[in-house]
Every structure is written in C-alpha cells, then in structure tokens.
Subunit: 125 residues, 2 copies
Amino acid sequence: KEPTVRELMRREVVTAKPDEKVEEAARKLIVKGIDHLPVIAEDGRLVGIVTSWDLARAIAERRRFLSEIMTRRVVTAREDETIDAVAWRMAQHSISGVPVVDEEKKVIGIITTDDISKRLVEGRS
Amino acid sequence: KEPTVRELMRREVVTAKPDEKVEEAARKLIVKGIDHLPVIAEDGRLVGIVTSWDLARAIAERRRFLSEIMTRRVVTAREDETIDAVAWRMAQHSISGVPVVDEEKKVIGIITTDDISKRLVEGRS
Ligand SMILES: C[S@@+](CC[C@H](N)C(=O)[O-])C[C@H]1O[C@@H](n2cnc3c(N)ncnc32)[C@H](O)[C@@H]1O
Ligand SMILES: C[S@@+](CC[C@H](N)C(=O)[O-])C[C@H]1O[C@@H](n2cnc3c(N)ncnc32)[C@H](O)[C@@H]1O
C-alpha cells in the first residue's frame, strides 16, 4: 500500500505571524533546526510561508519584516494524499516542504523532502 | 539496479570562499534558487559548507562573514555510492544536501533531498 502524508508528516508545527521581524523568525528556525515557517494571521488562517531561503533573500534585499518576504500563495497538502502526489507537487514548484491542512485550511502538520528522502531508506531496510 | 549518486547529482555547483560576506552568499543562493554553497579555499580544497539555514543563523547572531557561520566538518558523497547510502547519511546528520567529491576531495557535484524525493516520483511514473 502507498504511504500517505498522515504517516510521514510532523504534527508539531512552528509558525510565525506576518508582522513578525525577520530576526525573530530566524531565531525560531535556528532553535528548532528547521527550514519552514507557515505564517498564520490573528484569525488562525494560513496567509503565507517563509523558509530559510526567504531569510537569505531578506539579507540580500535588506528587509526587516516577514510580510515583506513571505510567499503568499502557499502550496499545501491534505493528510490522506499519497507521498507520491506530494513529492510530485513539491518537485513541480521547486520547493522543499508543504504545510498539511484540514478541510477548514487549518495547519495540522508539515512534510518536507527530508521526510520523504528518509522514508525511502527506512522503507528498504 | 539501485540508482547511484552519479545519475542524480547536479554537476553545476555554485560555491563560495571563506572570506566572502554573508550578503554575497545570500545573493548567490537567491539568484540560483538554491540552498547549499560548498566553501572552497584558494587552493581548491573543500573547507566548509553554508546553507540558507546558516544565513538565517547569521541574522539571529548578527554575523557578517562566511568564515563565522560555515560548517567546517563537511559530510560528502562519492559518485559511485547508491542513493540509499546517501539518503541514510543525510537523515543521520539531519542535513538536506551533500557535495559530491572525487578521490582528491575536489567537488564535482551536489545532491539534495529535493533530488532524491523527485527521483522517488519519477521512478514510479
Ligand atoms: C523556489 S524555493 C527554493 C528554495 C528552497 N528549497 C525552499 O523551498 O524555500 C524558494 C521559494 O519557495 C517558497 N516556498 C517554499 N515552500 C513553499 C510552499 N509550501 N508554498 C509556497 N511557496 C513555498 C519560499 O517561500 C521561497 O520564496
Ligand atoms: C542540521 S541542518 C538543518 C537545516 C537544513 N536542513 C540544512 O541542511 O542546512 C543545519 C546545519 O547543517 C549543516 N550542513 C548542511 N549540509 C551539510 C553537509 N553536507 N555537511 C556538513 N554540514 C552540513 C549546515 O551548515 C547547518 O549548520
């Protein structure tokens, strides 16, 4: 049987707010050793995503707030999708990770190419 | 037959120098849409690696030169290794990419978990 997103996703998701400073977001990524921060508005809606790559862009473009560098059209996944479908979607968009959302678009997890690559090995051993 | 690193690695490798400014490295990552920069000394030796995650750290710790943030003990791969072996090594070290080196430790390519995840899908279709 094909593995699903539900089996591989991480449920503990570190997030950020649009008015947060770039420096605060950087500290969150470093403390947790992660690369992705879904950006959540006051009302709980997913309004963007920021990766360590966007923070590199903040350096190159001297930006100070997440709202200036975050990507607003977020590519996501649902937990009942196959790993294949999500790996394909990430390859199409040249991205390394997607938030997993429920039917109300609430973020319930995150899955990255690191998780998929790791599965490839675990699946064989 | 198991796929090898040689089949999946990218041969065009963007690199940096240890005395380069963080801002210059950030621009290189942004222009190419990549996350990894092997750091090469004047004599051509691989002396470190910097990722977009390290640049996030440069923001959090207010550092200005690559020599201050680069990782010096670089995890690498050889081109005749299997994808499995390299995916396992990256999972063990919680890293997303490794430079591919020849027998003289010269960098001849790079392979990331994005490349491995993409292969998983291509392999099935
Ligand atoms: C093209 S990717 C390449 C660099 C890196 N691998 C990464 O995923 O960020 C860089 C851009 O993709 C965006 N991005 C990453 N994950 C995303 C997602 N799930 N939905 C939309 N954009 C995303 C980032 O915000 C960033 O601007
Ligand atoms: C633990 S990883 C997690 C974040 C991110 N996924 C990444 O790979 O950078 C972050 C650290 O791993 C280091 N790193 C990344 N690739 C490496 C490699 N091939 N060899 C040694 N260190 C590496 C980076 O320099 C960074 O300090």
